[in-house]
Assembly symmetry: D2
Homo-oligomer: 163 residues x 4
């Protein structure tokens, strides 16, 4: 039996809309598709919202890749991987995912997650990104970068990439 | 609902007995207890044996913490975490586990996993370790290090540590 | 005696102009100021050019933070730090530098270096960045991000930041 | 001009004799040989003693590989590499050194440094190690592990290994 697809949802640790609502819906849709959700694992922002969305679905599996050994962990994380590598854990998120979906690129942490995923050859889907983020990541990521206006559209793109 | 306990099984990437048989039985027993199994994830030695043992049990969950992005992954791994940090991934294994069980300490990789787990304050159970390994790790690990003569004894110790 | 300032020069591993010429001049100017140069250490692109520029100055010190254990190392690197953490070494570059200077942001690797430096609270100076890069990093980095049109201007900004 | 040899001195962060005196003498001898000293970089125990010993010699160069971004740094460190990878930085120390010299193996951190160095194929010299440590590391490290009774003997072995 092949391994289930692993989809990462990344984004800000702050509660910024519409990133939070999008993340929650993405988590739910990823779980409904039977995929494994990977995130930064903290009890904050997009990470928490995505994991909580996934846990609304029975049988879902959420894996959190945590930066620090003493940090907060979302209760919605099923498996907590404690890297103790600080922001370098952003590289592990992308390497472990088949596809990375970013809910907004509102901060430098998310920008690093998107950049590292592209650098490592992973497809990245930006949902609700600013015009500045879209232009920049199109420039450096070329055909590895996709844009979606909604979680449903992002999942539709992911489905095509996985098939 | 609290997170399920996470138990790491570590050991050589070579097929050395009785480490391999012990690892397979440990994997099975960990899964029977409803715990999550974490390992080095490669398709070799103790890692493969532990993961295969766990997958004999329905509903088991195996997480592999892989050293390299291009390395082999055991088909018995459910979730592959690709760290691309080489042997530094040995630190992540211990940090992510509640308890580390070593099937023999036959090589330097396993010795580093045991040492790092002790350093990070995790309890370590050595199964079938050499006299030299037992004496050394008792000296540096003191009451964090336990010894077991069989997988069943190791699981019994783990049960006490978790309760 | 306080430690000497450490300045990182980051950029593409490809030979893109004017990034290469800028990197060489930056390396030379950093060394002339008596600062330590840190780079990605590989024998390629901006890394090599910056290190070679610095080694034109007697008494210079160049430190390379290398991604892989088997990779190429520039002969112009005095001290090779072998991280074996792949692209996660980009985080170590920023954390170890007082200031990060990017010669162009032409690829995802450099974008991650700039993002991680900002995330870790370090000042970043972009030299010769595209309009898209300038707008994006101004948006996410705010007053931590500086822009320079030439190596000399970048060094002038660095001097103010260090004083 | 080839890069200067890089020698790591590792050991406890506590002030244990004779490890501290040995580390100080090793630092001095390494510097007198014109080699670069690498250590864990903290302002404690063997790390501090080795770096201080080296800085007694004019023209010496000391590089500290630090575990945490907010930790203490020895004033005797010339170049501070901030890894923010916790104990995983022990892997970087060994990978970046031509030879690793351990002043006692009194704790789990040092045991991991020695183990990781062996695993990565580096020669390791144990100075003043306990009988238990000598037996264990001889067992797992075989001909990669050397024993010395004094700093001078360790430096003599290092000289042979480098020639």
């Amino acid at each position: 039996m092949p391994r289930k697809p692993v989809i990462a949802v990344v984004g800000s640790g702050s509660d910024i809309e519409p990133a939070i609502s999008n993340a929650r819906e993405l988590g739910r849709l990823i779980a409904e598709n039977g995929w494994i959700l990977i995130s930064g694992g903290r009890d904050a922002g997009v990470m928490r919202a995505a994991d909580e969305g996934a846990k609304e679905i029975e049988g879902s599996l959420t894996v959190g890749i945590l930066p620090d050994r003493d940090g907060d962990v979302s209760p919605a994380v099923d498996v907590a991987i404690v890297t103790d590598t600080g922001q370098a854990r952003n590289n592990i998120i992308g390497l472990s995912a088949d596809i990375v979906i970013a809910c907004g690129v509102d901060g430098a942490g998310t920008a690093s997650e998107v950049s590292l995923a592209i650098k490592n050859g992973k497809p990245v889907i930006l949902v609700g990104a600013s015009e500045e983020a879209r232009r920049f990541f199109k420039q450096i990521g070329k055909d590895r970068v996709y844009f979606a206006d909604s979680p449903r559209e992002a999942i539709s793109i992911a489905n095509q990439l996985l098939s």
